[in-house]
Subunit: 295 residues, 4 copies
Amino acid sequence: MTTIAFIGLGNMGGPMAVNLLKAGHGITAYDLSDAAMTAAGEAGATPATSAGEAVTGADTVISMLPASQHVESLYLGADGLLQSIARGSLVIDCSTIAPASSRKVAAAAAELGLEFIDAPVSGGTAGATAGTLTFIVGGEAGALERARPLLEIMGQNIFHAGAAGAGQAAKIANNMLLAIHMIGTSEALSLGAANGLDPKVLSEIMRNSSGGNWSLEKYNPWPGVMEAAPASRDYSGGFGSALMLKDLGLAAEAAMATGSAIPLGELARNLYTLHCAESGGLDFSSIVGMFRHDD
Amino acid sequence: MTTIAFIGLGNMGGPMAVNLLKAGHGITAYDLSDAAMTAAGEAGATPATSAGEAVTGADTVISMLPASQHVESLYLGADGLLQSIARGSLVIDCSTIAPASSRKVAAAAAELGLEFIDAPVSGGTAGATAGTLTFIVGGEAGALERARPLLEIMGQNIFHAGAAGAGQAAKIANNMLLAIHMIGTSEALSLGAANGLDPKVLSEIMRNSSGGNWSLEKYNPWPGVMEAAPASRDYSGGFGSALMLKDLGLAAEAAMATGSAIPLGELARNLYTLHCAESGGLDFSSIVGMFRHDD
Amino acid sequence: MTTIAFIGLGNMGGPMAVNLLKAGHGITAYDLSDAAMTAAGEAGATPATSAGEAVTGADTVISMLPASQHVESLYLGADGLLQSIARGSLVIDCSTIAPASSRKVAAAAAELGLEFIDAPVSGGTAGATAGTLTFIVGGEAGALERARPLLEIMGQNIFHAGAAGAGQAAKIANNMLLAIHMIGTSEALSLGAANGLDPKVLSEIMRNSSGGNWSLEKYNPWPGVMEAAPASRDYSGGFGSALMLKDLGLAAEAAMATGSAIPLGELARNLYTLHCAESGGLDFSSIVGMFRHDD
Amino acid sequence: MTTIAFIGLGNMGGPMAVNLLKAGHGITAYDLSDAAMTAAGEAGATPATSAGEAVTGADTVISMLPASQHVESLYLGADGLLQSIARGSLVIDCSTIAPASSRKVAAAAAELGLEFIDAPVSGGTAGATAGTLTFIVGGEAGALERARPLLEIMGQNIFHAGAAGAGQAAKIANNMLLAIHMIGTSEALSLGAANGLDPKVLSEIMRNSSGGNWSLEKYNPWPGVMEAAPASRDYSGGFGSALMLKDLGLAAEAAMATGSAIPLGELARNLYTLHCAESGGLDFSSIVGMFRHDD
């Protein structure tokens, strides 16, 4: 059994920690929000009054934070958290951030004799609760193997994308592609409907043809086509449009940093920017409303 | 056994007719090209000297032509082919054309007591040869059932999209979505590679994640990732970029006719226009070359 | 003095005819709308009961119709209006339509011994009323010279773009560019405002710098920057978004017909499609509302 | 007469310093490049061996550096240059960088009792040499007035955009709009040419119509239309495509920082990314080559 410090217990981190607790692991928890701390305490975690206190005595640190600047400012600097973590410990950062930030933290961790992996997730809050997340990991294979038993409690699929930062780069590329085929699927269904097709029939045809993609398979954006999809519950729950926009921003940064052209990815980002101005809180498949004639 | 008139024996129509011949059907064939006529004759078809001659005595007419204007000018008008086809016959148009054109021909056929379906295909010349095409059909269910035994000889999957023109509308929506996720996949792989990822590893991760789509599953655009894909044979064979551009043009027309917004679809069309100016003859997955840094 | 038949007396054609009447020209007028006919009669035109009646005895025919199909169906065919126009007459079509349609009518007119020019206008209803329209003309120089005295009554600037259809092609290219710099200006002002700039100050800077364009000069889209612009009267009057969308559709068709890539033009068209779904009746500069944060 | 420290004597900074020298100002110069230092020395500047040495005894500091990180790392931090500049001095940063970076340096300067303005320029190397640059200034009005005599030696137009960082924000918005209308103009001319128009005639029509913009007025991208434009000398000289791409990257960052949608701006950036992969060294108007059929 591992002693785990868990930093960041929000909508994603909270249920992830609960699954570790259920599996019998001891957790010392820290979050800036009192509500999150209370919930974690009720679930069996030991509350800490600071991140530094949380890592004391832990051999594994897991973090789940909103953005690059939070991760950098947590771990780095003269009084950063890395300084307080016991040599030889394993640090698993599950935040989705810029690959360059992950590489910076990984390098600093290595200098201090720590093992570090970036392990951003997909699967949303539902996957976090059900323990069915996908982890896309960057870092040394040995560190991933050490982390694997914990990741397998919180998730179902674990991919090794490459060296430090590769987990982030792969997650970003994947989510950009997801945004593109979600919008593409929305355009195709709206175009078909405007030309007299039944979106349900068209969905089934494209799903089984060369237009097939994950949106059609698991997450159809048209209301009523797929009972379990957010589209059939007014786009509540699921993966928020604002979170998709954040990931597309990371893609834009990664593209600019490398001189890469991603015309569809950037147009997708701008369409989500327009969409979020009105509907940032809805599931990202709600972007179909931009294209539907009957909407 | 049916007596079939087959009009249009090019790269697609030729092998489709051969499969019908192999299955024991008699075919009277007509094409403007002498070479196509010779090939059809060698395969066992009876050559006709005109489309009108071809349909004489036939109870089924199959056509496979390049574009709307060819189909309209073949069938419609005072001396159009519909006038020469025996009342009660079945007409199967496998061309990929504008839904409005299909509806026009279908209406004229109905007035003359003919059954008509639009049955555009996907699967390329390889599918035509192997008899594994996908047919997306618009028209009456009864006409489709009558056509089904023939379609099953030439293809593997048969979808009924709806009333007259629906086959075209569904095919167009599907191929637009295919173009979008092919370019999206190309952007994602190029972005990943520029950020240090192995395209093969990234492909596998996205294929199994929410970025998953048919391009990653069957037709990876990156050379060397998928042995059987055109990308691994210098983008020869497959589905030409110029043909994809044609289908995207049909999507643009269908969008304009209905006031539909398809921003990703139209950007895809413009990117294929730029690509075709240099590489129209290559398989459509070659568009990845526009984004690869190492290209 | 010329005897003029004027076909199409809507928002544009009506005031254009009035200016010819005021200048002393006799006009026989025809329009499908009773209201338009009444107004033309009150202004001094002689009402005709059909287009055919209108052209009887006229040596000049002017038409101002909504779209390609109206122009083609008016003039062409076995019983088209061209057949009823006296040999040697001048036909001036002021409609904005596809260059290919103009060329078709011009060719048919030439065969019948008529002189024909395409003379689409810009300047909107205000320019039509004030007699300050811009005419962009395609056709023979001689025909343009013959038309010039009439055009100078209705307009201020007359450009000869080239042979038959060239007026349409130039008008389409111009209006596509107008849409692009109007949206570009809207993006730039919104981006500046979001970054703390005063849109009025920024407008003035860009107008005098390399960002300068007609939108900034004459038609600023931001409310309050330019008193006389539609933006300062809730986007009423001016050039409707739906009309701009129509012209962008003509640009798309002209691009597809020639294999031209116009990525910004097509994105502009799709943005206007989205905009028109909500605000088609507002002046086209209202598209700035899509980008403003404070809107 | 002012004693000026000039940091950064590249293609832009070099000729700007020369104009100040010609006007009788003494300059102490510093640049990392030996060649730049030699040239500055030959023009009459006093070479310094470090930036710190350059500012010793100066009451005015002018900097012209490539990017945000260079400006931040020059001025900020415990041993940053601001610490070495005499209290009460004026600092003029002519670099084009992120507004946020300018604001950061301006705040640090204010704390140390220095006056600071951001004064990015447009006009290219030709304008720098001729002393006809445009300065777009952010900062206090008093600081701008103090700087004005120097700016008037180096440039022709001086705009006050607003508070600290506003010069950058306005420059970025302007250049994004320039990129958009340059590409738009290129698309319009290419579309017109493909439809049979003479680009010279079409340019003249649009320049005098609602399509009018600075590209048509001063910088026509089509070879041969405007003798003095880079297009007529194989796109040499002028404003490099790679520099435009840099400015579009600043626009993207400013848009992301404020949640602004700039769909045409971002598509322009992606088109320049594609263009720069092949022609980064050519003038930015060379992007017309992407659209010309005859190219």
